[in-house]
């Protein structure tokens, strides 16, 4: 079971990122829970400076850009 966290305030990019993460989960059939974090203080504990951010199992894998579903799938498989 993996945890995927999308960090952002619900702007367009964050929504696209969440959609891509869902696609990646479906295509890889990895068991994962997706959470969308919108609280500023909580987002900042990850130390990112630009949103949206993507966190898999507690570590930041991307921020400030919207990775494709393919990229996310690779990260989900990778570890």
């Amino acid at each position: 079971m993996k945890t995927i966290e999308v960090l952002g305030h619900g702007c367009n990019n964050c929504k696209r990122l969440e959609a891509n993460a869902r696609k990646a989960v479906t295509s890889t059939e990895v068991e994962a829970e997706i959470r969308h974090i919108t609280d500023d203080a909580e987002i900042m504990t990850y130390g990112i400076l630009s949103t949206p951010g993507l966190v898999i199992d507690g570590s930041v894998v991307s921020y400030g850009r919207v990775p494709s579903a393919g990229d996310i799938a690779t990260w989900l498989r990778g570890g």
Binding site: C11, N12, D40, M44, L49, S50, R65
Partner: protein, 346 residues
Amino acid sequence: MTTLAVRRTPLPLPLIVGLATAAWIVAWFANQPVADWLVFDVLRLEQGSQVGETMAFFLEDAPKVLLLLTGIVTIVSFLRSFVSPVRVRNALSGRGVLPGSVAAAGFGVITPFCSCSAVPLFIGFVEAGVPLGVTFAFLVASPMVNEVAIVLLWGLSGPGITAAYIGAGLVVAIVSGLIIGRLGLERYVEDYVWKVRARSAVVEIRPTMDERVRDAWRSTVDIIRRVWPFVVVGIAIGALIHGLVPTDLVVAIGGKDNPLAVPALVALGVPLYSNAAGTIPIVEALLGKGLPLGSALAFMMAVTALSLPEMVILRRVMKPQLLAVFVTVVATGILLVGYGFNIFLT
């Protein structure tokens, strides 16, 4: 796994970029002949007639500006992927207020700014010890001097007015930063901001060349999709103003003899946020009809730098007092730019 099997083989990246560049160049040079042909041969409008010239102006300028936007925004987005906010922050945290504000205003121009990133940036800067004034210089410059506004200004009004806009924008940002820094308003930052501590230092993630190009193109498509209707409508209104609105009227209402023109235009600019794309063509047409440069600059700056949605977002990290100071200082700066240009440039 089937999704992987059906994935088409992508063309090599340099080839795609080369083809796109070639297509852009062809479109750029075909634009004027095609517009002329449409207006004077297909629609059979008379050359030199009011209607014909207005139509030709519109059909030439709208594609021209959209092409410019597509090209420049792609290049800027690509170059921006090399400027990491983390490095910007580190460069700013060790500086005094004056050099810091100057550097911050400069960085504000090149760093991406979307109002949804304003909060993490603000907290991240403050947390790293970037002085409040320097952070504000950044927050003012970033939305004001942005590539969409610059491309539109350059494409429609030429380099002189573009330079005046950028220069005045930077001065407003730097001076706002210096003033806010002097006022010592740290206690009006929301308290939780000071307590935030990152669990871990930010990892620098460097995208691959492929990702940089893809991201740049995707964000360009995103921006163009959002602004093109405003550009087209703005240029259409601009074309009508060229043809219909009498110069005397513009001079009487917006001219320097009307002392209320500048504040009225600034107030009008605030709700027009994110419509820089639509307002600049109109302002350009009004400039042609005798609107003084100062009034025009003040209006455009109000459109880009002061916006309600951004204030709502910034309210999350600032107490109302600080937000009020921010708005007052920036608005005063814009008013001074407006009056200054109107008085000294005519």
